[in-house]
């Protein structure tokens, strides 16, 4: 009996030591992997991909699944477009952009300076596209969940954002040059996941990709 207890204590001790060791290693590794990710992302000039968005919302009877495409050109050009179930999206060129709604066939110009919500969205998307870890670290507490493939867990520092966002999980591609999947978990338990597919890095993008569609 006594031997059994000692044996269990040894096991607990080893597990504790291994866990602590792993935590220390991961804390030390976070800075390294972030630096590596930053270097890898620094080589990205353009991105083009399709994505699938799944929203699990308490107010919706079913999961909202939508398809879309995403394009980015260094330093500040973006296109975010939902193709189904409702065609809508926005393009951004520096500080100015247009958003559209295929349902109402409305096109509206905006400026990130004048539209605080679009400003916040644009900053977030650009930060992820550029892998702007300095900016992200100012806004989020980062934790390394997995080194290979690189997976991070981000908790908002800003009280306003923390009011409705619990955390984000970021999954990087194997070569760490772009983000492959993002999961956003809200305080209410609702969540949104974005999965990027057919990602083309540094491909040639047509000029009109950062223009709004004509209705």
């Amino acid at each position: 009996m006594k031997m059994k207890i000692v044996k269990r204590l040894w096991i607990i001790l080893w597990i504790t030591l291994l866990t602590c060791s792993a935590t220390v290693t991961r804390a030390a590794d976070l800075a390294t992997v972030l630096a590596e990710a930053k270097v890898a992302a620094g080589q990205t000039d353009t991105l083009y991909s399709h994505f699938t968005q799944e929203k699990h919302l308490d107010i919706m009877a079913e999961t909202l699944v939508s398809q879309g495409l995403f394009a980015y050109r260094k330093p500040d050009h973006l296109r975010w477009e939902l193709l189904t179930p409702i065609a809508s999206g926005f393009v951004l060129r520096g500080q100015q952009g247009e958003r559209w709604n295929g349902l109402s066939r409305e096109l509206e110009a905006f400026s990130v300076d004048r539209d605080p919500i679009m400003g916040m969205i644009a900053r977030q998307l650009l930060a992820w596209a550029r892998v702007d870890l300095d900016w992200l670290q100012q806004r989020y507490v980062m934790a390394l969940v997995s080194e290979q493939p690189l997976q991070l867990k981000l908790t908002p520092r800003d009280a306003g954002e923390a009011g409705f966002i619990d955390h984000l999980e970021i999954f990087f591609a194997a070569d760490r040059r772009y983000v492959e999947q993002v999961v956003l978990v809200e305080k209410s338990g609702d969540s949104t996941s974005l999965h990027f597919t057919d990602v083309k890095v540094n491909g040639v993008l047509p000029d009109n990709i950062f223009s709004a569609p004509v209705f």
Binding site: I59, M60, S88, L103, S104, P116, I117, I121, F164, T192
Partner: protein, 789 residues
């Protein structure tokens, strides 16, 4: 009666008894000078009492907008908006806090403003009947279906995370109805908000608004303020410049230009007076003539200060100019006495008659100003009347004892003009023909003369400030030149009630979109309570309809049955009234201070509107029956002031004309003499009006007051020359008038070299008027009456 001859002869034997009391009087007057309180406000030159101009001016002075410092930063095309914003913040930090207070470069970070989050909650007390009608129109299956699709689209977008709770609370998207109330509250027509800063539409300009404890009329304070501003702007990065717009740079520019002008004018007039002295007087005793204006001004100042405890600086300035007229009295006495030592008493007695009549007509002309609506002109009347009385007494009693013995002169002194006209009779007709042609030419030009009462025209505007004003108007709209409607009340609620009535009246004229008003956002409590009641009644009728429509459309787009439960809760929640504390909690405190201010025992609430003459004319009658409501338009203010000045001037000219005419009739008792005596003044005025008309110069306040000098001098010249033509002995009047005219020209006409509009106005008036009055007196009067010469 030979009063002055007797006095002269008696006092000649006891000069000490005369000089001692005069000297004592002057010393006492000098000692009194430090007691003088001289104000520098332009108010003295505005109609007082209950005139609308005076009330408008008082209200304009009280508006917080009129006291604001406006700092505009201008960026070159190579500078980004972000850099402009950084430079704006750094400039704000460098401005000293003791001189620049309540700095405001924008409404702050709009994303964090409580206003946008909190305003929707207050829709029940903001929504008008029209808003409720709009909401009712939205409660149709098609409209709600469309809105639900919009809600789903928003949820699917990245911003959906932030908007989810908003959609739950407001699935019908009613919040914009509340936000619309803010669009009437933007005092900067061309503004954009970027990064929490005021940015112009072309994104090349930013703005800082500030207050200052420095009074607008404090030249030394303005110097400190402008220096501190320039020191702070010296560190702006390349490509960014800044300009300060407020009354202070104008005060400073005007003070400095006047100083600089006075140096130039004093140099020109000093040299001119020296030349005149050497050419016509050349004697140490003749200097006593020049003491006359100074002594009369000194005593007039003291007497006027007994009458008016605070003198207007403008009155004192003008008074000094006008009392220049008194040098003439001295010149006439001097030239009459210094011709010979024989019969001096008789010559003094002979010259005393035109001198007294000239002085009396001028004195009465000035006395007419006592009826003026402008308090400054009434002060001027007391000042001038006193000064002229003193000058007459000094000229007839004291000066004769100072001019010394006569200088031996060549025998050929019988009057050059007489000989000229006698030798060359044709020349007489040439002079008369030229004079008539000039007068006809001037009469035509005078038809084009107009009066401009705009006060800003009287100030010097440096090109840099004019350019900055123009840039400000281009980038931000006409923020410094709008009309204002003041709604006054004994307390805030009654002022807000009147402001609401103003708003409703503006609505009747479809003008609400053109004005800046607090009314849509901040209605009086009674109105808010009424709106809350209407809101409750509305939803008591419509809530079940709305719920059913939301359920149907929501189900179609996949929303759960309780997705919009927060909407029902919000309908049953009373947000309470919007009050000052709520508005301040939304960060609108600084803005409110511009629209609501204490005015003595009353509270005033402001509405701004475009200052268009046709609009102001229409609204003037509209608000006439609203007690406590005053419409103040800067352009109308100028027009009213023009009318007041024109009315005052017409009244002055008419009354003075009648008085002068009566006095001339009493003096000469012969129509031809009266007409002759009037020639210089009429010619001087017509010449002045005519040339100002031909040169498209507008008559302003300073021209009007300076023209009184022309009237005074012109009448004197006429009286002297006509009297002289009737006298058997030569009193030297022609020479005295010539020297007097030239003295006036170099003394006051020299102001024409000044750059300050007010000084220039005096200069051009005197230059034109005297240039015509003197030749008319010394050439045209003798040409009309050659036989007596």
């Amino acid at each position: 009666m030979k009063l002055f001859q007797t006095c002269y002869e008696k006092l000649a034997r006891r000069r000490g008894r005369l000089f001692l009391p005069v000297l004592l009087l002057l010393v006492l007057a000098l000692a009194w000078l430090p007691q003088l309180r001289i104000g520098d406000s332009i108010v003295a030159m505005l109609p007082d009492g209950n005139s609308q101009v005076a009330r408008d001016f008082e209200l304009l002075q009280k508006t917080p907008f009129s006291r604001k410092l406006v700092i505009q930063l201008q960026a070159a095309k190579t500078v980004s908006t972000a850099d402009l914003v950084v430079a704006t913040d750094r400039l704000g930090q460098r401005l000293p806090a003791d001189l620049f207070t309540h700095l405001q470069s924008g409404p702050g970070d709009m994303g964090k403003l409580a206003l946008f989050n909190g305003l929707g909650k207050y829709l029940p007390v903001l929504a008008t009947d029209q808003d409720l009608k709009t909401i009712a129109e939205r409660l149709t299956p098609a409209q709600v279906d469309r809105q639900m699709a919009e809600n789903l689209t928003k949820l699917l977008q990245p911003q959906g995370v932030a908007l989810k709770e908003q959609i739950r609370r407001d699935p019908l998207n009613l919040t914009p109805l509340a936000l619309m109330k803010l669009r009437y509250l933007n005092p900067l027509p061309g503004v954009r908000i970027e990064q929490g800063h005021f940015i112009s539409a072309d994104r090349r300009s930013s703005l800082i608004l500030a207050d200052t404890p420095v009074l607008m009329t404090d030249a030394a304070g303005a110097r400190r303020l402008v220096d501190a501003f320039q020191q702070a702007t010296a560190q702006l990065p390349a490509g960014i410049s800044a300009s300060l717009l407020s009354g202070h740079p104008y005060t400073l520019a005007n003070t400095e230009i006047i100083k600089s002008d006075m140096s130039r004018v004093l140099l020109v007039s000093g040299v001119g007076l020296l030349v005149l002295f050497l050419a016509f007087l050349r004697r140490r005793q003749a200097l006593s003539v020049f003491l006359l204006p100074f002594a009369s001004m000194l005593l007039a100042l003291v007497v006027t200060s007994w009458w008016y405890p605070q003198l207007s600086g403008i009155t004192v300035g003008f008074g000094a100019v006008l009392l220049g007229i008194t040098i003439d009295y001295g010149l006439h006495v001097y030239f009459a006495l210094c011709r010979s030592n024989e019969g001096r008493g008789a010559r003094l007695q002979a010259v005393a008659r035109p001198l007294l009549f000239g002085g009396l007509t001028t004195l009465v002309a000035f006395a007419v100003l006592l009826r003026s609506e402008l308090p400054g002109q009434r002060q001027l009347a007391v000042f001038a009347v006193t000064g002229i009385l003193v000058a007459l007494l000094l000229a007839l009693l004291v000066l004769p004892q100072l001019v010394g013995t006569a200088v031996a002169r060549p025998k050929v002194h019988k009057g050059y003009r007489r000989h000229l006209f006698e030798r060359r009779p044709k020349l007489r007709w040439t002079v008369l023909g030229l004079w008539l042609a000039t007068m006809i030419f001037c009469a035509v030009g005078a038809q084009q003369l107009s009066i401009n009462g705009e006060l800003r025209r009287l100030s010097y505007v440096p090109p840099v400030l004019a350019q900055a004003e123009q840039q400000l108007a281009e980038h931000w709209g006409n923020m410094r030149g709008r009309a204002m409607i003041f709604a006054a009340g004994a307390d805030l609620q009654s002022a807000l009630q009147r402001n609401e009535e103003v708003w409703q009246r503006l609505g009747q004229h479809q003008l609400q979109d053109q004005v800046v008003s607090l009314a849509p956002l901040y209605a009086p409590l009674a109105i808010q309570q009424g709106r809350q009641q209407h809101w409750d009644d509305f939803w008591a009728r419509e809530q079940s309809v709305a719920d059913e429509l939301l359920q149907q459309a929501g189900a179609k787009y996949g929303f759960t049955a309780n997705a919009f439960a927060p909407f029902d809760q919000s309908l049953s929640t009373d947000p309470g009234p919007i009050d000052l504390a709520v508005l301040q909690s939304w960060g609108l405190g600084d803005l409110l201070d511009n629209f609501i201010f204490q005015d003595g025992p009353e509270i005033q609430v402001l509405t701004l509107l475009p200052d268009r003459p046709e609009l102001i004319a229409a609204l003037d009658s509209e608000f006439a029956d609203l007690p406590g409501v005053t419409l103040v338009s800067q352009s109308r203010f100028g027009r009213q002031l023009s009318r007041a000045i024109a009315g005052d001037f017409s009244s002055f000219i008419t009354t003075a004309g009648i008085v002068v005419l009566v006095l001339l009739i009493v003096l000469f008792r012969k129509l031809s003499d009266v007409l002759l005596a009037l020639l210089p003044v009429l010619s001087g005025l017509l010449f002045m009006f005519g040339w100002m008309g031909w040169l498209h110069m507008e008559m302003n306040l300073f021209n009007v007051v300076a023209s009184i000098l022309i009237i005074g001098l012109g009448v004197d010249y006429g009286i002297f020359m006509t009297c002289h033509s009737r006298e058997s002995q030569d009193l030297g009047s022609g020479r005295a008038i010539l020297v007097s005219g030239l003295t006036t020209l170099v003394g006051f006409g020299a102001l024409v070299v000044a750059r300050h509009p007010a000084l220039y106005s005096i200069g051009i008036t005197v230059l034109l008027g005297i240039c015509a009055a003197v030749p008319t007196a010394v050439l045209v009067i003798p040409a009309f009456r050659p036989k007596r010469w």
